[in-house]
Symmetry: C2
C-alpha cells in the first residue's frame, strides 16, 4: 500500500491526526524534573548525552514486543509501509550501546523490544515513559504486539485485549512499592481496541476477536502447563483451570499485558495489546508449529498494526 | 593461570571432582518422561532434534547471567582459563535459532543468558533443568553472576548470597500454580557459598561478603527508587525501607535470585548467586559510573567463578 504514497512529513501528520487537543505523556514523579540529569540506564540514553526532543519529539506510535529480531523486522516493515525516503541501512538500533533492549525509529513510529515478562517490560516502560516525557511527546499510542497461548480459539487467531487480568482472572496489577502492595487498573483503551478491530476487518482472511488476556509471571506452572521441569497438578486440574479462565472471558495468555495496561493508563498513553495465538491450550502445551506457519502467525499482529498506523496517518486508500 | 595447564579432559574431571557419589538433576514432573518428544521451545532445542546426552552429558557447571554479550564474554574467558584446545571461533551460540537466550559450552561449563527478571529466568530454568535431565547430567553446580544495587556497602563489592529474600525481607518465593499460591524456600547452598567466599580470598583486592540478597519484580518502585516514571513515596520513606532491609541482613538487590534458589533447590542443583554492587542505594538511585569502572566491576564475579571452577577441576596451582 505504501508504494503509491509520498514520504511521510510532519504537516501531513498533524493535519490528519484524529486526536483532538494535545495530550502529553506525563510522569507521576515529583522528583524527576528537579534532577540535573536523568540517565535512562537500560536504554543507554540520557538527558545530558542526547537531545531527546530533537530525536524523539515527533513520536506518535510506540510498538513494543518481546524479541529484538522480530521488532527489527517490524521496524523495517513499517519503514517500507510509511514510504520514508531514508535508506533502510540507516535504520539503526538506537540502544546499540546495551543489549538489554533494542530500539528503532522510522518517522513517527518508535519500535522497542522488551524481553520476557513483567519485570523486563516494566523497566523498559519506566524509561520509555521518561523518554517521551523528556522529549515532550504528545498524543502517543502504544501497542504491544506478540504471541500468546489461546484458550478455546483456533491457533493463528489475533486477540485484541480489552482487559488484562491476572492469574485469578482479576482485572488488576499488583505493584509492590517499598513493602506495600498497590493495586492498579488494567483496562486497555476501549476506542483504540475497537479501532484496531475495525481495521482488522479490512484485511483478508484475518481471524480476530476482542477478549480478555491473562498475564502470568511464568510460562509453565503459572499457565497450567504439564511439560515444565516442575508440575504438581493433574491434567484434569489444568483443564478445569483453563476452562474457568475461558468462562471468565479469557481468550489468550501472555506475560506482559497487566503492567503495560497499568503503567500506560497512569501516564497518559493510549495502550493496546495485540497478540496472535500459537496453540489452543485446551488441546496441548507444547508449541510445535512448523517454522513457516510460526513465521506467518507472527506476522499477523504486525500487519494489523501497520495497517492501523498508515490509516491513522492518512496513508491508506 | 590456565596457560601452564594441559587441555581439559574427562578423566581429569572425574578424578578430581570433589563430589561424593552421583547426584542427578531431576525434574519433578510425572508427565515428562512419558512424552514422545520434549521441545525446549525458548532454547530452540528438543529431544528429537538434538542428541542432548552427547552434547550436554558432561556439563558440571552452569553459569547464568542477564546479558547475552556479557555471558558470551564470560564463555570466551572460561574457554581460555580452561586451556581448551578448541579454537575460540568455534564457541558458537547453541541457541542461535532464537534471540530469547544465548548459550555457550566450553568443556564442562555451560553459559547461558537469562534476560531480566523472575519470569524471564524462570522460563530458562524450566528448560535448562529439563535439558540437564534429558542429558543425564549429574553433580551440577549453577551460579548466577550479575550486577546489583548495594545497601550500605561500597560499590564494587561482590555479594555472595546466603539467602534470597523477597520485598518483605522474607526467605520465600511465591509461585502461582493455577490459581493457588505456593511458597518455596530460597536458601542457597551453604557450603558452595562458603567455598566461593574462600576462593575470593585468594584474589588480590577482592572485596566480598556473604549476605542476604533482596529480589524484586521491578527496578524502580519495587526497589524504592525516586527516579522512575512513577514515584509515590518520599525520600524519607525510601531510606527507611532500605535501612530496614539492611537491618534484616540484606546487602544487595537484584531481580532473579529467589526463583533461581527455589527451582534449583527443588531439582537437585547446587546453586549460588554472586553479584557485584554498582552503587550504594543509601546514597543514590542512578547508575552513573564511568564506563571503564562499570566494565571493571562487572568482571569481578566472572573472575571469582573462573577461579572457583578451575580450582574445582584441579587446574589451579
Amino acid at each position: 500500500m505504501a508504494s503509491v504514497i509520498p514520504a511521510f512529513n510532519s504537516s501531513m501528520r498533524s493535519d490528519r491526526n484524529t486526536y483532538v487537543g494535545k495530550r502529553f505523556v506525563h510522569v507521576k514523579n515529583p522528583y524527576l524534573d528537579s534532577m540535573d540529569e536523568d540517565i535512562l540506564y537500560h536504554l543507554d540514553l540520557g538527558t545530558k548525552t542526547h537531545n531527546l526532543p530533537a530525536v524523539f519529539g515527533d513520536v506518535k506510535f510506540v510498538c513494543v514486543g518481546r524479541s529484538p529480531n522480530r521488532m527489527k523486522a517490524f521496524a523495517l516493515f513499517m519503514h517500507k509501509e510509511l514510504g520514508l525516503e531514508e535508506a533502510e541501512e540507516d535504520i539503526k538500533d538506537i540502544c546499540a550501546g546495551t543489549d538489554r533492549y533494542c530500539m528503532y525509529k522510522t518517522g513517527p513510529v518508535l519500535t522497542i523490544s522488551h524481553g520476557m515478562g513483567i519485570p523486563s517490560i516494566s523497566v523498559m516502560l519506566h524509561e520509555l515513559i521518561k523518554l517521551l516525557h523528556h522529549a515532550q511527546c504528545c498524543d502517543v499510542t502504544i501497542i504491544r504486539i506478540g504471541t500468546s497461548g489461546g484458550i478455546g480459539i483456533a491457533p493463528g487467531t489475533v486477540v485484541i485485549t480489552d482487559i488484562a487480568v491476572d492469574s485469578f482472572f482479576k482485572p488488576r496489577f499488583e505493584q509492590v512499592i517499598l513493602d506495600n502492595i498497590v493495586t492498579r487498573s488494567t483496562e486497555l483503551h476501549k476506542e483504540l481496541s475497537e479501532e484496531l478491530f475495525n481495521c482488522s476487518k479490512e484485511i483478508p482472511n484475518f481471524r480476530t476477536l476482542i477478549g480478555h488476556t491473562m498475564c502470568t509471571y511464568d510460562f509453565y506452572e503459572g499457565q497450567g502447563r504439564l511439560d515444565g521441569a516442575l508440575c504438581s497438578f493433574s491434567r484434569e486440574k489444568k483443564l478445569d483451570y483453563l476452562k474457568r479462565a475461558y468462562k471468565a472471558g479469557v481468550r489468550n495468555i501472555e506475560m506482559e499485558s497487566t503492567v503495560l495496561a497499568a503503567m500506560c493508563g497512569l501516564c497518559g498513553l493510549k495502550a493496546a495489546v495485540v497478540c496472535v495465538t500459537l496453540l489452543d491450550r485446551l488441546d496441548c502445551d507444547q508449541i510445535n508449529l512448523p517454522h513457516d506457519v510460526l513465521v506467518e502467525y507472527q506476522q499477523w499482529p504486525q500487519l494489523l498494526i501497520s495497517n492501523f498506523i498508515t490509516r491513522r496517518l492518512g496513508l491508506c486508500d
